[in-house]
Symmetry: C2
Subunit: 266 residues, 2 copies
């Protein structure tokens, strides 16, 4: 099955909008922008649209601007050179940190706190598995990459769910041997078409959270030629990416719910 990430994202956004609409104040999401590159502009244009779909107000502000009036704050990465990205992420208080990038929010997630939000990419992975009715307990999962934005939080969450999780780097010499025994592969390497059809067994699930640009086209970590033999496959583009954006706004509305009061039925 090829997962339609855009369709799942639309579902999440529709549910999120219903939650946003019963709040006293419309949730306000502020994106902080450090550098305007074609890539960040395109990300922000997409986020502005999805914010609307999720029933949120969306505003972009420059680095250094106040965001005390916001229900949720997004630091648009990457920031310009010389700015400490993690330090900037830590300037967002946990009760506004929809992206789960501050150390406070990340620590709560990593400890498995009951009120911790999931990083959006983890939320996307969770949604894909929930929608396909896949339980993780006892499954063999392989995570490629251990970066702080994708691999590390995904591996943490899979282990919390009781999966047997193996984390490998994209430079693993014998990637095929590691992948061939996996029930589920989640990749966050950012290496175009690193995973090839000869490396995987029939029936494996591939959730591809790696996106890289190659000759002007977006490419995932998995060669699309893998798809026909997978029981579940997320394409790039149109897989994890839009789902993660939807989960970001679902997180934003959760934070707004915690900060605001509901409209009481009359």
């Amino acid at each position: 099955m090829i997962v339609d990430g855009r369709a799942l994202a639309r579902d999440i956004l529709a549910r999120t909008k219903m939650r946003a609409q019963i709040l006293v104040r419309q949730p306000r999401v502020v994106a902080i922008i450090g550098s305007e590159t074609p890539a960040t502009k395109s990300y922000l244009a997409i986020k502005a649209k999805r914010a609307m779909d999720a029933g949120c107000l969306f505003e972009t502000r420059a680095l250094g601007a106040s965001f005390t009036d916001a229900d949720a704050v997004i630091i648009q990465l990457p920031l310009p050179g010389g700015v400490d990205q993690k330090e900037m992420c830590d300037s967002v208080p946990v009760e506004k940190d929809a992206d789960v990038l501050s150390r406070v929010a990340r620590g709560a997630f990593e400890r498995g706190d009951t009120d911790a939000l999931l990083p959006p990419v983890v939320g996307a992975v969770r949604e894909i598995l929930v929608q396909s009715n896949i339980a993780l307990r006892g499954k063999k999962a392989v995570v490629i990459g251990s970066g702080w934005l994708v691999g590390a939080p995904v591996a943490t969450w899979l282990a919390q769910q009781g999966a047997m999780v193996t984390v490998v780097t994209k430079d693993e010499g014998n990637l095929g041997a590691v992948l061939s025994s996996a029930d589920i592969i989640i990749s966050g390497a950012g290496s175009p078409h690193l995973i090839t059809r000869d490396m995987i067994r029939e029936g494996v699930m591939i959730i591809d959270a790696g996106t890289s640009e190659s000759n002007g086209a977006l490419k995932g970590d998995a060669d699309p030629a893998c798809a026909p033999i997978c029981s579940l496959f997320t394409p790039v583009p149109g897989g994890v990416g839009p789902l993660a954006v939807a989960c970001l706004f679902a997180n934003a509305v959760t934070l707004a719910e915690r900060a605001n009061s509901f409209i009481l039925p009359s």
Copy 2:
């Protein structure tokens, strides 16, 4: 080789004491106690001795007491029922959190921040590997257990070091198959003698961070009968335990160094 955790701990404590002695103020470590059980009393008696070995003042205070005068604060777990352990850990500001149990300190560690302290059990694992000149890059590591106190942080750190890390639960049906291909096994299951000699290959390294009481005796996760065929083996007691306590006080002095000024050579 059977690792002498007590000897390694003495070395760390001696080095830590030298660092403590050149500070303007002697580092003050405050342990917050919620419940006085035989176990917590025995832990605290050991910590009081090790604090002295590390050149630190050590004081115990009741839950709710102020600790603004402390350079480092330890919340002695477990806390009595009804007290939220994680919430109490979060009451320790990151600049005093030698145990790396607050979400702020854990998040910094999990993101791999350059100034993050290692949780003491991770420090112990690191010390054992450094002292034995073992590089992790490319090694196959298996972590048993994914609890927030041992398994999860150890797995996170091993992946950060470039090891191929597999996390399994202690209930893994085929534990032997997973362990048999490992270069290094780190266990934090708390299941006495879960790892038996028939499960492991000759030459493997076992770092045993699991401690449980069984018939009045402390037992590790690894059957001591494994030791003769291991290239490295940490016993229980006398392995990871004393090393982790030493790393706790090394962390405390690091925090004191950050808060205090040094005595300038005259």
